[in-house]
Symmetry: C2
Subunit: 383 residues, 2 copies
């Protein structure tokens, strides 16, 4: 809505203490360390980052990722791609099926004002519809075949079905075969490192075999894309993948923090950098506080938000605009009116509930200040 401009929870230059709640807060120091850690982790490897913009929905952030080496961005919807391109991101892959004439007409039109635009296909209909739209606009769309590498979501099985679709793409004058979309989503959250590696080893093997089959038939994969924050080091080291689509690493949600690393310890490669700032608006008992962030401020699809640096407090029983903090062992129960920081259970759908990022410098210091306020530009971009 146009009025969201009037509903910013904070203004640039304000003190941290003056942010209205609930607010989506970025700890800029931790966020920038996360960006740098990912760039460093892959700089010696033959892979590029194509960070997933479905996490942040912000061209401002995508451009920061590109400044550190990312080749471009990926996203799930055409409307997200439009907002990224129009926000200055020249190279965008829709890492998803695009079915429907309106969506494809918009994607083909977008290809005229971007350097590179791609989409995924896993059906003859997807290819035929994309060809028609590209023909109408007089453009060539880059098409990746989505391959089901174990996630059981979209995609065709590895091997011959991929070859069949790749050859069909090449037979269409307004489509260009650009490679494979080979993302194993459900493997990202396998807690045990050995089990996670085992799942991704199988994924890599299927992908390698398919790349080789295509090569035998004269089809080169410019892009072999996939990987998320939970497994990116495995795909990066595979020699098969050329692009990594990790997104959550910039913010690190509570759910990814439950993964274990190779040594069996916590997954600490990245820091929590995104929070929901919320106020205690009721203290109806010694062991309870009620805060002003509920389902409409924090998604619970991957578990409840957790408390940041407040041991002895748990967030429970959210309703639309309320969350209950259960006080079990805290030395500092929140006072009425006090603000606390929640770590989202799942960052991506939580970000999508907010219009603004409140970007704080020095969050863990007494001089914390709002350095900037960025729009969640593709919030609600569903089609």
């Amino acid at each position: 809505m146009s009025s969201s401009e009037n509903r910013k929870p904070a203004l640039k230059g304000q003190a941290f203490a003056d942010i209205d709640t609930p607010a989506l807060v970025i700890d800029l120091d931790a966020f920038e360390r996360n960006l740098a850690r990912m760039a460093d982790a892959i700089k010696e490897l033959p892979v590029r980052l194509r960070a997933h913009a479905k996490t942040h929905k912000s061209p401002v952030i995508a451009l920061q990722q590109m400044a550190l080496g990312a080749v471009g961005a990926c996203c799930q919807k055409v409307s997200e791609a439009e907002i990224l391109v129009d926000g200055g991101v020249p190279n965008v892959l829709v890492s998803n099926q695009v079915i429907g004439k309106q969506k494809l007409a918009r994607l083909a039109a977008l290809a005229k004002r971007a350097e590179w635009v791609g989409l995924c296909v896993d059906s003859e209909m997807g290819i035929a519809q994309a060809e028609h739209a590209a023909d109408q606009e007089g453009v060539v769309l880059n098409a990746l075949v989505e391959i089901d590498v174990g996630a059981g979501r979209c995609g065709v099985p590895p091997g011959e079905p991929v070859l069949d679709l790749a050859q069909q793409i090449e037979d269409n004058p307004h489509l260009s075969f650009a490679g494979l979309q080979a993302y194993h989503g459900s493997a990202q959250h396998i807690r045990d490192h050995v089990e996670r590696r085992s799942a991704i080893d199988a994924t890599i093997a299927m992908t390698r075999d398919t790349v080789e089959l295509l090569k035998i038939h004269g089809l080169e994969c410019e892009i072999v894309g996939g990987a998320g924050t939970g497994t990116f080091e495995m795909e990066a080291a595979s020699g098969v993948y050329t692009e990594l689509q990790a997104g959550s690493y910039i913010f690190m949600d509570a759910d990814y923090a439950r993964n274990k690393n190779e040594a069996g310890g916590p997954f600490t490669t990245f820091e929590h950098a995104l929070f929901i700032l919320t106020t205690a608006m009721s203290r109806p008992g010694e062991n309870r506080a009620v805060v002003d962030a509920g389902h409409k401020a924090a998604s619970i699809d991957s578990g409840m938000p957790t408390l940041f640096e407040r041991p002895g407090l748990t967030y429970e029983k959210p309703s639309d605009e309320h969350g209950v903090l259960l006080i079990t062992g805290s030395n500092k129960p929140p006072e009425l009116g006090e603000k606390v920081l929640l770590i989202p259970g799942h960052c991506d759908p939580t970000v999508n509930l907010h219009d603004w990022y409140v970007c704080v410098r020095g969050l863990r210091t007494d001089d914390a200040i709002v350095e900037d306020v960025w729009p969640v530009a593709a919030r609600g971009a569903l089609f």
Copy 2:
């Protein structure tokens, strides 16, 4: 965002078949029947409807409810109240605690441009902050004491603690004691009718005793407010409640449909009138289709969406922008590109994910048409 105007899933006058997906669709015929049924159900009773606008977040809908007799609207946040008042709703209660100087300053300013504005308090601090804000603006704010009638969320216990706060309100020159907020949220979803009635009988008894205690001390309750879609007939018949805050009755989500009526049968007082229209974008196997509506289009906090008039299909395993339809016994599995209607598990947070209502006339006919497109005006109004 200002660009949401450019991201409407449909335009007025379009055929149903041309709506882009995922889209939030109102079946106007069913919706209007629901509005009328509620108005009819209470027209002979000494209660008024103050329908909850946290469900629809739309002044357009609130005004339709008022045209059928509702006294005004209630909502959970000051920013929702602002959008309702500025959209033409003159009488708005924030049925929630309001803590924080920015929020209260805005609420006091709002009182100048509305006929009636109220808020809830359950603490001395809440009263002191509201008094300060009203004093600064030179207005009188109406304050209800929130009483915990069994839900275990906000509110003070019945009896003396309520009297104490009510007297404090009356001692403040810029506050006016307006009555009680006595809503039992968790009782709304008790499936068994006898158990639900038992919970609400206790709620009514506590509320009645408190109203009488206040009366003895010279304090009249202009408003005794509460009730939701699951229990409104009980509060309506109590003789104690004066205002009903039911909201979901206009849309009827899948979760409320799991309640049982007095005869043990399904709760069919209201019809499903809100849907997520979604497209099958992948058919990766005989028993699966993948649709383009996931966590960012439909909330799952009260269970998965269900399929409308498509027996043999279930919606499962959503990710951010995907949902899997499992095909168990349908005679008509969805084809690639086919659209199906989902009934939201929980309407309120689902509505909050969308910018637009696509209002369809004749949804269940071959001539279904987009009669109007209404903004979800208070979408994202969190503070």
